[in-house]
Symmetry: C2
């Protein structure tokens, strides 16, 4: 027989890893952070419970991969959102709104992303984590606005951290439903309010 003909039995020749990560993400979004079990992930990917151990050392490793996937998706959303505006402050606002939207639309995934600690092990070596790539995206947008003279010239990482903390904190509060239910436009209004407070300060001039 040829080189790569696959029967149904060994269908997941090199795809199982990816299939497991996607199944994990789906399960997290369907059943929440606690609804994800190794056995359910395996079943969703069409294999028995022990097959995942060929590709991941344990359950946590699958979750870590799902977290990476989340940061990667979030980064894509932020980039797309910022590209809908040209004015530097508008780009920041778009990005921040997109961030909060992601959290609200994928509450389970979002919670898992920040629940698990940042894995200590540096992957492949010099490959930056999806998390680091996300940070870079946010810092870049701030630096643009600084070069254009709209944002104070303090260390861009500090500014980015301030902006990010605000929207991340707000998102967490919304996702945990501690601010009550909010529809899309109410969320955007609240995010806008917070970012405006941030831009112009809350103290009396």
């Amino acid at each position: 027989m040829g080189n790569k003909s696959l029967t149904k039995a060994n269908y997941h020749h090199g795809d199982l890893r990816r299939a497991l990560v996607l199944a994990a993400v789906k399960l997290i979004e369907e059943k929440g952070p606690n609804g994800i079990t190794l056995r359910a992930v395996a079943a969703k990917a069409g294999v028995t419970k022990t097959a995942p151990y060929r590709h991941f050392s344990n359950k946590q490793a699958i979750i870590n991969a799902a977290v990476e996937e989340g940061f990667s998706e979030l980064k894509a959303q932020l980039t797309a959102a910022a590209d809908q505006a040209v004015e530097p402050l508008a780009r920041i606002k778009q990005q921040v709104i997109a961030y909060a939207k992601f959290a609200v639309q994928h509450p389970g995934h979002y919670q898992v992303m920040f629940l698990s600690e940042h894995p200590a092990e540096t992957l492949a070596g010099n490959t930056p984590s999806a998390f680091q790539t996300l940070v870079d995206t946010m810092v870049d947008t701030i630096e643009e606005a600084q070069r254009a003279g709209f944002i104070r010239s303090e260390p861009p990482l500090e500014i980015a951290l301030t902006v990010w903390s605000s929207v991340h904190g707000l998102s967490t509060l919304v996702v945990s439903k501690r601010l009550g239910q909010l529809d899309d436009s109410a969320l955007a209004a609240m995010v806008t309010k917070v970012i405006d407070n941030l831009l112009y300060g809350i103290s009396c001039s």
Copy 2:
């Protein structure tokens, strides 16, 4: 025999509920959000696995009680911290630093507090949740500063939400170790930086 003499066997006459909550808090702090099991909580409180069901309908109910306990402790810390200063802005800063410190010193508990959704069921009826009491404390401090003319006179809840989102977001990032390890003074410096950005704005005047 008298009215309330207790043998060792029925020692937890009306205390078991409280003992279980405290055991749950301890376990969360020792083993993290995933390390808490109903059986371990019961064992720590000195009873068998099924005894908790007399006092809580299920595991989640115990966790909810531990969350309430957390908000209650956090509120106490914030009040104590604010009382160490008299100048309104200094009171806000002290409160915010105390908030971040609580998160860093009780990382497991803090994560659980915001992981679980706000329980829909209103307890005893009109008794405010520990969460609501915490919000009130933060709003009060903002209102003080507004009356003294230090903070813009926008809705105090919105201002409080902005401040809170910032420090909560920063705390979450620190607890999940995504900003790297920070000692006490580095944490205070970062919190101060963020709150200053917030007070005076990040935009060019």
